[in-house]
Symmetry: C2
Subunit: 232 residues, 2 copies
Amino acid sequence: MAYHTLKQRILEGTYGPGYRIVIDRVAKELGVSAIPIREAIRRLEAEGLVEVERFSGAKVTRIDAKMYEDILSALAVLEGYATAQAYRNLTDEDFDALRQTNEAMRQARSDFDLTLYSRLNQQFHEIILRCCSNRYLVDEIHAFRERMDAMRVSVFNLIPHRASDSIAEHDKLIQLMAVDVGEDAVERFARQHRLATLEAFRRWNEQHTRLVAERKEGYRAPREIHRPGADP
Amino acid sequence: MAYHTLKQRILEGTYGPGYRIVIDRVAKELGVSAIPIREAIRRLEAEGLVEVERFSGAKVTRIDAKMYEDILSALAVLEGYATAQAYRNLTDEDFDALRQTNEAMRQARSDFDLTLYSRLNQQFHEIILRCCSNRYLVDEIHAFRERMDAMRVSVFNLIPHRASDSIAEHDKLIQLMAVDVGEDAVERFARQHRLATLEAFRRWNEQHTRLVAERKEGYRAPREIHRPGADP
DNA sequence: CATGACGTTATCGTATACGATTTCCTATGC
DNA sequence: GCATAGGAAATCGTATACGATAACGTCATG
């Protein structure tokens, strides 16, 4: 299906920011007409992943550092609240899973296995989020995270992970939830945990001075030369 | 344009929850082919306003009381945070505008002019929101509010407005911001202001016992009878 | 070399046509 | 009256065709 293919390519960075998706070319490549491609692009547009300009087609949305920070801080707020709503629903098994996941993260950091580390980090937060009964909130958080992950792959892939701090903070969060210090304190800590990533990003961004979003300009599809008599 | 027409009809309640949008009929009515209608529906799908089932077309999303509450509480969290981020950017003119708007709301309540009251209430919060520099957050809040408003029109239009409390709370919020009691206090108050609406809704919903979302079933487009030889 | 004009080509947006699928209506049986 | 089956009609999903528009390449000029 066209939608899933296009979305995946955007999320994994094959189509970088600013890249112009040529509808006819994708249609030909996937063996369908332009209509389902156009429908897919309308969905992606509504999700904010592409921008559609009339008669010019769809470009992958370009993200600057400001927007990255804006999304990250909005995400911090929602995650903080969701964690506070969720933690009293955590079972003993959940707490065990959290501790094991964080321990595995510690090991992944020692092994310098970034891919595993990231996956475990997601898993850690997912254990908590799955206990939040506000499904709308959870869906929004997932959508925000998806956007963040896509940006990270294509643009901000050199941001330091601050792994040591994260793992220690997970330990602290587990403790706060286990002793039930109250929703306010849990919310504040969980929010700050995410906001610390924002602070790390800001410091990194200032050091690098240039506008990171300008780097790795989206790849423009090559233009096929048509000559009368030439093979298609 | 098809998208705007369809969206407006959903937002103003012409198409209620569960209503099946018949693509060919709308296309004929608007004087276009089915293709732009389908594209519009894909956008609305991604926005959560309709649900698309393969070969059965699009139905306006049905909302139950739980989802209404979920959205409302997520909105409360975001609005609280946005207000805390915005208030130090408010000018003297902004504060004057807030006081005037709240005074006009007081008058509208005395006149029992619900439409004006609601418009002024939106205006009040918009004055604050426009001073929030996190544009992503503001866009999300607008999207949430849009969903809430659509639900209110079509399903929950008898919810009490708790006007007296709201106006008093606006006065208090203005005061808290003016004396700069700190972001935490402002955030907490602004969040609670919205959550009070949630509590009012819950009380009202329990009193009414029945599942409000079942009421006012979406209107199904009438079926046109085709007979050979009949005029189109 | 840079810029602007102009023509060609690629691409976009959507109408029409048509096969696939679901919905709806009618007939029949209990 | 109600349930079920079957066929007709409505509707959906998308390929193809084609006019509208932007992108691109080439050429002329300063």
